[in-house]
Amino acid sequence: MARSPIIPAATESPVSKVKLAERNGTFQIRKVLTSIIDWPMAALQRLVGERGMAYVFLLPNLIFFGLFVFVPLGINILYSATGGAALFPADRPYVGLDQYGYLFDCGSYIDPNTCREDHFWRGVTNTFNFTMFQVVTMVVLSLLTAIVLNMKIRGRGFFRAVYFFPVLLSPVVVALIWKWILQRDGLLNALITSLGGEKILFLNEPGWATFWIVFVSVWSHMGFYTLILLAGLQAIPADIYEAAEMDATPRWRVFWRLTLPLLWPNLIVVVVLALIRAVQTFDEVFVLTGGGPGTATLMVVQYIYETAFSNQVQNFGLAAAASVVLGVVLFALTLIQLAFTRRKTS
């Protein structure tokens, strides 16, 4: 069977583009601008070669990134090798790995009470527990919400906006509002007492405080991850579900065998982003509970902040060492995400 000739798709004629520019008067401006930019770019290309031009275009962003990310990172590592209370590195004595030694000076890493920097290890434990609970809850709820919002329900647009709205609020505002709701004479206790119950000091009991920081965090950030998963669900071709429907496949099997595997790349992104964010949690928890009661909700970032700024002797070296440790953990999480993403793509 003869193959039909390949006819290129019709494209807009270059001549008509010029005529359009001439008509709307921009042709001359474009010509002037092009002539100004053209010769230095041509000269640069002769100097660095065609491939080098890619790096030239990346350079401004790299400089910005370098100045505001790599340079502070380097300075931070430098601080972590120094001691004393002076601010400038030149005035601080070099102590090598002493600060890391203080951080890891423990009888048992499982029991913070045996550690020299027990607040750091409490922060690590609390952050780990918070991350586990918060991420699992966040992902499950976001997934369920995305599935529901993907259905043809009445007011779908409204509900999508409602779930995303808390994401737009400042974390401090979110925490303050919930603090007012949860405090001794807050809205929630007013409701409880009106139903005949006793007031509960939600933010003064370690168990309740932990529950509420997870709750508030999930409530305020869920919309963002729901959006990512919703986009993933909408990218799944409808004919796959039609085929499953024709085969009378049970719904749970459709979800388990079709939806989840196809949604996997998005789920990985959501899990890793949620993990990174949870490990870095500070503002909401600091405003809501201040790390209390006791140190029940003290997170690693709050420990770093207090070590560097709140104590009378502002221990920049120790705080820098703790932040380097945190940075290593976050870097490891990022590498895991890259590995998963690459494997899925391949």
Binding site: G83, G84, A85, A86, L87, F88, P93, V95, N113, R116, D118, H119, R184, L201, L203, N204, P206, T289, G290, G291, G292, P293, G294, T295, A296, T297, L298, Q302, Y303, E306, F309, S310, N311, Q312, V313, Q314, N315, L318
Partner: protein, 425 residues
């Protein structure tokens, strides 16, 4: 011709304005407020500028937390204001400017602020004049008298002990359903007033910190037991982590606290906000086995050494330290004066209510009860290291994360480690 005249006129006007602008010095003052003292200071500065047209003062009003956390970093970076109102006098001492060479009458400052100048100096310095006290403060209890009357419980007398007050407050709270029988600010400074009355010595023979002694332990045990038996609620000391400050002034203003151990800086705020909602009084600091001492304190307005206008700063401080201006400032802010001459003459506090005036009298009389240990602690350059260690570790013991013995061990270690870190060269 007309155009030339207009042009020349504009030129001359611009030149005169430029000349004026060049001659005017701008000073920046970083300030925090407990009550209305920010407004009072703004008014005084406006009048200063009217009398001194070559100086303009910009008053930057910031939260107290910014003074304690942000300002030291600014000063360390050499970026601070020309003057600042600070409470951590020892911590900021190394950034202050000695105004002695710029003052017309340094002897006036020595006479009227003498003992307090030591608090603003670095160890070893015995002569510098870095600033003036914006207030002298004293810790002490405020009592909701109306709740006592409603509960039909007699208020303990002047020499009553901490335990007697705790019992009375608990009885009142039980009868009137107040959630806070006794509230003490989550502050090491407040805790040490209790500790010193229990006999805490705080320093060893060499003058080095020896925080945990028998007196200290008695005080810690009291606070611990009060949290166990309901005299104190965990909502203050147990509610936040680390060195975070937590006061109960809002709860007191809302009549939820029977006895609130805070300090004289609250008088202005209470006088303005409580009104006739209920009767409140300041009472003498309860007694312990050793004494009935509170803790002195205060805030100072100090000159910063990075100022480019030391002469102008000196003129401003001379104005604010002058008797009439200082009197007006203390009277309108309802502060115990940090000016010895005025303290001796007495102030009238015309703007205060009878309750406010009575409270100021009680605190003024309490100055005579101050223990030398309390004065020494307030003047010690690393006192905040000790205050922070105490509230951080006792807070953990109160919520059950640690025992009292573990807390004592940690307090000692924290103080040693932080002072060692500060002294590293």
């Amino acid at each position: 011709m007309k155009g030339t005249t207009v042009f020349l006129g504009c030129f001359m006007l611009a030149a005169s304005l430029l000349g004026h602008a060049q001659a005017q010095t701008t000073l920046r003052m970083t300030w925090y407020s407990d009550g209305n003292e920010g407004e009072v200071m703004s008014d005084l500065l406006r009048r200063f500028e009217e009398q001194n047209k070559d100086i303009k003062v910009v008053l930057d009003q910031v939260p107290f937390k910014a003074i304690n956390e942000n300002l030291p970093v600014q000063l360390a970076a050499g970026q601070g204001p020309d003057l600042a109102r600070v409470a951590d006098l020892g911590g900021v001492a190394r950034y202050t400017l000695d105004l002695r060479p710029h003052l017309k009458d340094p002897a006036y400052f020595e006479t009227n602020f003498g003992p307090f100048l030591e608090w603003m100096r670095v160890p070893g310095d015995t002569t510098s004049i870095p600033g003036i006290m914006t207030q002298l403060t004293l810790t002490g209890p405020f009592v909701n008298k109306t709740l006592f009357e409603q509960a039909n419980v007699a208020m303990p007398g002047e020499k009553a002990t901490w335990e007697e007050w705790a019992k009375a407050a608990k009885d009142v709270a039980a009868k009137v359903q107040a959630p806070f029988p006794v509230a003490i600010d989550r502050s090491g400074h407040r805790f040490f007033s209790l500790a010193i009355s229990q006999g805490a010595k705080i320093f060893n023979e060499k003058g080095e910190p020896a925080v945990v002694d028998e007196g200290f332990k008695r005080a810690a045990q009291l606070v611990y037991d009060w949290h166990r038996n309901g005299v104190m609620s965990k909502e203050l000391w147990g509610s936040v982590a680390g060195t975070a400050y937590r006061g109960a002034n809002d709860e007191f203003k809302n009549a939820q606290v029977v006895m609130y151990v805070s300090g004289s800086w609250q008088i202005g705020q209470f006088d303005k906000t409580i009104g006739d909602a209920f009767d409140w009084v300041a009472v003498r600091t309860p007694c312990g086995p050793a004494n009935c001492s509170g803790m002195p304190g205060g805030a100072a307005l100090v000159a910063i050494k990075t100022t480019k206008s030391p002469q102008a700063v000196a003129r401003l401080l001379e104005y604010l330290a002058s008797e009439n201006i200082a009197r007006e400032f203390y009277e309108r802010s309802l502060f115990v004066p940090g000016h010895l001459g005025l303290a001796k003459k007495g102030l009238e506090y015309k703007d205060a209510s009878p309750q406010g005036r009575a409270a100021l009298t009680v605190f003024g009389e309490g100055v005579a009860q101050l223990s030398p240990v309390a004065n020494k602690l307030q003047g010690y350059v690393n006192n905040r290291v000790m205050f922070n260690a105490v509230i951080s570790r006792l807070g953990q013991a109160i919520v059950g994360e640690a025992t009292l013995d573990e807390a004592y061990r940690r307090i000692t270690a924290d103080v040693e480690q932080q002072i060692a870190e500060r002294n590293k060269q």
